[in-house]
């Protein structure tokens, strides 16, 4: 029993990292007034690019860097469309998710000739046995704390939040709203890109077709539940990381006790847990009215 709890907690700490990076990034983006629901697409694209780079260079840290750069480019695209072209942010995000999925799978098949998964690539090693702790765990925690400090305790953070609450007032304060929103979108997408790369080089060790598995949207749920607060996103990410861990752990455990059961079909039903968990928690615990007031609306200078 104790063993189970330790191993579940350890798994949860592994699974929470991409959720934490993506949700903290999205909080920065949304606090400036831009919604990016293309997180899912960024996760899958950066996971693919980082597996490609790690496969050819054998260096997982270069893979992380490549993931960050893919996120950065995606953020530049989304920021340009949302801020300067005044596009519909939700539609741009939905389009990006479909595009990123298509292009990543195209790349997967084109590079390795395989429809389901890439070969294994080298990984960033865990430490802290018997627990599995990735060096990215303290990094992600630190990023969350730094973002909290930046947003709520510095004047540039205040200016960023002003862009999301009342862009006209921010402009009057002398803030370049358009540039601030673009910057916040790029930062958010870059953090998400690191999260996507981590799924490959820090966790799974290969790229698979359904590697992101809705994590981008789970991160969006964490953003709303945390009340747009990066420090609280740590707790949210742990809870949903825990659900993720349970959904992978239980079918294996049950099959050990009862070997007659088919693991594949058993695992299908347990894979529902994280999504059902999000649905229930969001429906019961979300408090409305805390979103940045100008969220999702393009700012038009007079």
């Amino acid at each position: 029993m104790i063993e189970d709890i330790v191993s579940l907690t350890s798994q949860a700490l592994v699974a929470m990292i991409p959720l934490l990076l993506a949700s903290v990034g999205e909080i920065v983006t949304e606090r400036s007034g831009v919604v990016n629901i293309g997180l899912e697409g960024i996760l899958i694209l950066s996971a693919f690019i980082s597996s490609l780079v790690t496969f050819s260079t054998n260096d997982p840290y270069l893979g992380l860097l490549a993931g960050a750069l893919s996120g950065l480019s995606a953020g530049l695209l989304h920021g340009f469309i949302s801020v300067y072209l005044r596009g519909d942010q939700i539609i741009a995000g939905v389009g990006f998710n479909t595009f990123a999925y298509g292009i990543s799978i195209l790349g997967l098949i084109n590079t390795w000739g395989h429809h389901g998964a890439s070969p294994m690539v080298s990984k960033v090693p865990f430490f802290g046995a018997p627990l599995y702790i990735s060096p990215l765990l303290p990094v992600a925690f630190m990023i969350a704390i730094i973002c909290w400090f930046w947003l709520f305790r510095t004047s540039s953070g205040l200016r960023l939040r002003a862009c999301g609450e009342d862009p006209r007032a921010a402009e009057a304060m002398g803030v370049n709203v358009l540039r601030m929103r673009l910057l916040a979108t790029i930062i958010g997408a870059t953090l998400t890109g690191i999260g996507g790369a981590y799924i490959v080089v820090g966790w799974i060790g290969q790229f698979t077709r359904h590697i992101s598995a809705g994590r981008g949207f789970i991160a969006l749920a964490i953003v709303a539940l945390s009340g747009w607060n990066p420090a609280l996103a740590i707790a949210g990410s742990f809870i949903f990381g825990f659900f993720d861990a349970i959904s992978l752990y239980l079918p294996v455990k049950i099959q050990l006790i009862n070997p007659g059961l088919n693991l594949t079909s058993l695992s299908y039903i347990f894979r529902i847990i994280p999504y059902l968990g999000v649905l229930i928690i969001v429906s019961f615990f979300f408090r409305r009215g805390r979103a940045p007031r100008d969220l999702g609306r393009p700012y038009i200078k007079e």
């Binding site: 629901i37 695209l77 469309i81 072209l85 005044r86 596009g87 519909d88 942010q89 939700i90 539609i91 741009a92 939905v94 389009g95 990006f96 998710n97 479909t98 595009f99 990123a100 999925y101 298509g102 292009i103 799978i105 195209l106 790349g107 098949i109 084109n110 429809h115 598995a213 809705g214 949207f217 969006l220 749920a221 709303a224 088919n262 594949t264 079909s265 299908y268 039903i269 894979r271 529902i272 999504y275 059902l276 999000v278 649905l279 969001v282 429906s283 019961f284 979300f286 409305r288 009215g289």
Partner: protein
């Protein structure tokens, strides 16, 4: 009208250009691939009609709530649920009409649940929609692999009995009956949205909830109603595909996967107008069928179609791009 045509054609041209460049970078003969996509996509009108049918309906599932300002990206789940419940009822009763009604009801109920969570709890429909999509996806995989598989063909589910299948409307010119059903439904939706009091209310809510409330319309009931209709469309799509074409669900669900998401592209490309949607669904189905042919003939993965559709949607998200082009001219 001219602006709409300009936007739509620009989005298609830009996405083709990007797709073309990507293919060349990946080392394919891009000209050959695109000529296969277009030629093979149009080579079999019957098959094109069959494939367009579910797309028209999942596009309506997205577009009808979209006119009210709700983002139903749960079309994928509503489509799966429609297919599953239709299959079960068809298997039990052998009656296609009962089966269609059940499919629509199942899709509608699911989307109403999403709408109620949005209205009552303030939760963004995008998040709940996606969670439901995954829950239903894995539930279906579980049900098909444990309870509903065909003992003779374990890689697929039990199938629709002969009596409940929907066949050709006119056999000798090969028009599958499901296609006119989808087109007719789309026309009915057009009149509902643009020529009825109900549709007027819904559109006012979409443009300005404040104005709607001032005029005495209740935005919340419009939101729920639009989601009910949208979800029923998604369910109908799943229902028609299974009764009229696949007759069973394969154990990896590859025959259903992605249809709801492609519907979002079709809805946007059709400018959320039911008549435009008929045309855009036929166009995107051509891309999808052509993409499948390109896989066989030029070994280009079918996901090319996803990349192209995604790019079309990205360009359509920013009508301002068109203005940039105009200024330059």
């Amino acid at each position: 009208m001219r602006k709409v045509i300009l936007e739509v054609s620009l989005s298609i041209i830009l996405s083709f250009l990007i797709g073309y460049t990507t293919l060349i970078l990946m080392g394919y003969d891009a000209t050959k691939v695109f000529s296969i996509v277009i030629r093979e996509g149009l080579s079999n009108p019957t098959y094109l009609m069959i494939r367009s049918t579910p797309l028209i309906l999942t596009a309506l599932a997205f577009s009808i709530p979209s006119l009210v300002g709700v983002f139903n990206i749960g079309g994928e789940g509503q489509f799966y649920l429609g297919a599953l419940s239709s299959l079960l009822i068809a298997h039990i009763t052998g009656n296609s009409l009962l089966s269609i009604i059940t499919g629509m009801a199942a899709g509608g109920l699911l989307s109403v649940l999403i709408a109620v969570i949005k209205v009552k709890r303030g939760v963004n429909e995008v998040v709940t929609s996606i969670m439901f999509n995954w829950i239903i996806y894995f539930s279906l995989l579980y049900l098909i692999s444990t309870y509903l598989f065909d003992p003779l063909m374990p890689y697929q589910s039990i199938s629709v009995p002969k009596t409940a299948r929907i066949d050709y409307l006119i056999v000798h010119i090969q028009i599958p009956a499901i296609f006119p059903i989808a087109v007719l439904t789309s026309l009915v939706m057009y009149f509902l949205l643009y020529h009825s009091a109900l549709g007027y209310k819904m559109r006012v809510v979409g443009i300005s909830p404040k104005a709607a409330r001032y005029a005495g319309f209740d935005p919340e009931s419009s939101i729920i109603l639009s989601m009910l209709i949208g979800g029923a469309m998604g369910g109908l799509g799943g229902s028609l595909l299974i009764l009229g074409h696949t007759h069973a669900i394969d154990s990896t669900m590859s025959g259903l996967y992605g249809m709801g998401f492609a519907g979002i592209g079709a809805g946007l490309l059709g400018r959320n107008n039911p008549i435009g949607i008929i045309l855009s669904s036929i166009f995107l189905s051509m891309l999808i069928i052509g993409g499948e042919a390109a896989e066989l003939r030029a070994r280009v993965p079918t996901e090319l179609a996803d990349a192209l559709i995604g790019m079309i949607v990205i360009v359509l998200s920013a009508p301002y791009i068109v203005r940039l082009v105009r200024v330059r001219r």
